[in-house]
């Protein structure tokens, strides 16, 4: 059986982490932390394939965490989906600027998060798709 993809979820709100656990817990190897500092530490140890990152974190915010992760040679290619209640376009753009692959605004539809996670974990090169057709 294929090994489960590893996902790290970072959110300071326990209810929000519970939502992510409910959605992804059974299908993926999920780890959750609630601060930016813990996120960086856990990212190095756990080596996740994808990180679901909240922006408003105490101490170190999600933007800073994202930037740090992009600087790390071992985590440069980890997919990062920012999930935040910050809904303004400027805030979303800042997310992309610091290196996020995708952005989801709370409240979001669970199905959408699942679809995004799936899309980012199994990207196929266009060539491979064309060859399959």
């Amino acid at each position: 059986m294929q090994e489960k993809s590893k996902i790290l979820a970072v959110d300071d709100n326990s209810i929000n982490l519970a939502v992510i656990e409910e959605l992804l817990g059974s299908q993926y190897n999920l780890m959750t932390v609630s601060t930016g500092i813990d996120a960086l530490k856990m990212a190095q140890e756990f080596r996740p394939d994808l990180i679901i990152l909240d922006i408003m974190l105490h101490g170190m915010n999600g933007y800073d965490v994202c930037q740090q992760i992009r600087k790390s040679s071992s985590l440069r290619h980890t997919k990062i989906i920012m999930v935040s209640a910050k809904a303004m376009t400027s805030e979303r753009l800042k997310g992309y600027q610091v290196g996020a692959d995708d952005y989801l605004t709370k409240p979001f539809d669970g199905e959408e998060l699942l679809a995004k996670v799936c899309a980012h974990l199994h990207p196929k090169p266009i060539k491979a798709i064309q060859e399959n057709e």
């Binding site: 105490h58 910050k86 805030e91």
Partner: protein, 358 residues
């Protein structure tokens, strides 16, 4: 200005190097152009003084009046421009503050809403298959998020009322130490849950202070609640009250992580959360701004500092009595208004009630 003056003036202008510069101004001679004339006048006066030219040949009385008007207009224009620039700056700052506030409110509302919507969706999707324990867990999380939302809305409304100045304070002479005791009683069980000890130290005799008991209780609750949230398990919280000249100071001291020096002021701003706040601490980020409003209404001040050894110290200072004219409270009913001056002399603390139809 008569034509002779103008012609003398024009003649002179023709001989100077400034003729192009001033020609339009002299001919049109309208209010706004006076500023140009002023520039010329200044230069003329300077040049004339330097070169000892006969000033009286071209500067006549109407000319001086015109210059004076021009001076005045230019001065006023400069003043107005500065005033307008400042007003613009202030309006922009207020607008930015409003945008930031709205963005924060939106964020704070969306977070619990996300919890409610998500767990309601899980319930809808899995109601047929999930066991009752799971469904119960969903309902509990929905309620928890709903409560967070309600607290936020209450705090927002409280702060809006306080900031608008529309709230009626009921200032009465009251015993602050007994208020502290009441609030401590309220928080005893929560403190026990976290294995915390709350110590109260009243360094002053039970003096009566002019205050709004409900509002000061709200401040004390907030400070104590924060201290409990930020204390490590098994810690001690000290509530100390003491007199200083004509005021009384209450300090709530915890043994938590303290507050970074550059955040000591910021923590009184709306939605600010200290970077050292535990992630699980929660809170709406409105508690301390509410406290600050209430203490300001008591003509006092509230501040934060770090203890030299461990933890933070949140203190407020309020005067023992407010000025006589500030103790009056106006309650406006349907068609009656009452003025209730409070007598706060040590010998007579009864209230005099004067009612009059308006």
């Amino acid at each position: 200005m008569n034509s002779k003056t103008i012609s003398t003036y024009k003649d002179w202008i023709k001989t100077t190097a400034f003729k192009d510069f001033v020609a339009v101004g002299v001919i049109a001679f309208e209010a706004i152009v006076l500023v140009e004339v002023l520039e010329l006048g200044k230069t003329l006066t300077e040049t004339a003084t330097q070169k000892a030219w006969p000033i009286d040949k071209f500067i006549t009385v109407p000319m001086i009046i015109a210059l004076a008007i021009a001076f005045y207009i230019q001065g006023r224009l400069k003043e107005r421009t500065i005033e307008l620039q400042e007003a613009k700056k202030m309006a922009e700052a207020a607008n930015n503050a409003k945008s930031t506030f709205l963005s924060n409110v939106s964020h704070e509302l969306r977070t619990p809403l996300h919890g409610i919507l998500s767990f309601a969706s899980f319930g809808i999707k899995k109601h047929a298959t999930a066991n009752p324990g799971k469904i119960l867990d969903y309902f509990q999380k929905i309620r928890q998020s709903g409560e967070t939302l309600l607290t936020l809305l209450n705090d927002l409304l409280d702060l809006a009322k306080l900031e608008s100045g529309k709230i009626a304070y009921k200032f009465r002479p009251a015993n602050l130490n007994s208020l502290i005791d009441i609030v401590r009683e309220e928080y005893n069980s929560l403190a026990l849950e976290h294995n915390l000890t709350i110590r109260c130290e009243n360094l002053e005799a039970n003096e009566k202070i002019t205050l709004d008991t409900d509002k000061i209780r709200q401040v004390l609750r907030n400070l104590l609640n924060n201290a409990i949230k930020f204390s490590p398990e098994g810690g001690t919280i000290d509530v100390i009250s003491y007199k200083k000249a004509d005021s009384i100071i209450v300090s709530v001291r915890d043994q938590g992580a303290g507050i970074p020096e550059n955040e000591l002021e910021n923590i009184f701003e709306k939605f600010f959360q200290s970077s050292k706040t535990k992630a699980s601490a929660g809170g709406t980020g409105l508690g301390l701004p509410i406290c600050r409003e209430i203490i300001a209404a008591h003509k006092g001040r509230i501040w934060a500092e770090n203890n030299p050894d461990i933890g933070a110290n949140l203190s407020f200072e309020i005067p023992l009595s407010l000025e006589a004219n500030e103790q009056e409270e106006v309650l406006i009913g349907a068609n009656l208004s009452f003025e209730i001056p409070l007598s706060l002399e040590a010998n007579g603390q009864e209230e005099a009630l004067v009612g009059s139809a308006s």
